[in-house]
Amino acid sequence: MSTNEKGEPASNITLVLDKGPLADDAPPHTLPAGTVLSRFGVDPKWGLTMDRAKEILLKDGPNRLKPPQKPSRMKIFLAQVLNAMTIVLMAATAVSLATTDWISGGVIALLVVINVYVGFSRECLPPLINTLLTEALQRNGKRPIHSLLSPRLEVLLQLFSVRILRRRGRAGKARSAQFQMKRWLLVISFSSRSGTSFPLMQGYCLGTSATSSATKRCSLASPSPCQRRQAQLRIRTVRLVIARIWYRLTSHFQDLTSCNPPSFLRFTPAPRSPKDALVALSL
């Protein structure tokens, strides 16, 4: 193994980079670390000073990649519709309806609608939740928030966040979201472009995995009976809020179908022990 002057092992990268003359305007990643440090006048022990960091920030701007352009909803919708198989099926629907074959036409139209809806909803809604989770992960680097969200709760968040924001007319204004874990409380708040933030939903994180330590932290395993009781009451309140939102969202479908809330939103008698409560409330 090769060693440097101090007798310490030298990495191959350093040896390769130190070979041959390099121009002063060469990109920093092609230069040895010492050259880059001297070029920026940095002490490797302490790093950049605040003034120097501010100066470089003003000169070069923040070290941030330009986010990719988001496709419009219309483009996503057209991408679902404008493919050969869908067009052929739509033509078949038209021909079937023209020949008064209502059943075939209806069935094919229904399948086309299902296909377009599944593709559109999958590609259109997740960008929001993806953005939220990414930002949440960036803010809470030590705690992977997404691991605390069960898939069904994630779906609820997708639906509720988009629909509530749309209903409030803030869908276009919402810029970012913040996930905060306060003991058992999961607080999700959105920030608008103007800098103001507004809470969207406050709820308890009900994890699916009982083996997850984070889930255990979010469970009702509180040492104090008073705290356990408070947690139960809060969870029931949050479930009530979710159930209300569910009923409001589905109220206009009530006349057409008997739309019942999913089983995990139905209220059950209050649990007697924290363990039962965790089982009863797990999504």
């Binding site: 070290n63 330009k66 067009i87 021909v95 599944v118 898939p151």
Partner: protein
């Protein structure tokens, strides 16, 4: 040197920009038609599905012509016309695209359970 001026930034910019076709003349025209028909420039599964759709459409048209030809192409009764259309429509795999979409959506959900969020369903095709 920060942000988009770094090597990573250049890579991100290159990924954002579509590579322009090097073809010229008739080949470029042909490539545009193939892209418009969905036979190029998309995912392998979509290309196969599009090819299948065109083949089925062709066979359905041939079947309809065969059924109508049984009348000798004169005084075609409406029942025969309806039968021809029904034969052509019944050949189409109506539920195929719905099954494909639902399968990919289920795969996306399964990946989400494993903390891998997928935005575009096409990305799951080759997994």
């Amino acid at each position: 040197m920060t942000g988009m001026t770094t090597e990573l930034g250049k890579i991100a910019e290159a990924l954002e920009n579509k590579q322009e076709s090097s073809k010229t003349g008739f080949r470029l025209y042909l490539e545009k038609i193939r892209r418009a028909l969905g036979l190029e420039g998309t995912t392998p599964l979509q290309i196969k599905l599009n090819k299948l759709a065109y083949w089925i459409l062709l066979i359905a048209c041939i079947l309809a012509v065969i059924v109508v030809s049984s009348t000798g192409y004169h005084d075609i009764p409406s029942s025969i016309a309806i039968y021809a259309v029904a034969a052509a429509v019944s050949l189409l795999p109506a539920s195929l695209i719905a099954v494909v979409s639902l399968t990919l959506a289920v795969a996306c959900q399964d990946l989400a359970k494993r903390n891998a969020l997928v935005r575009r369903m096409d990305a799951v095709e080759t997994l």
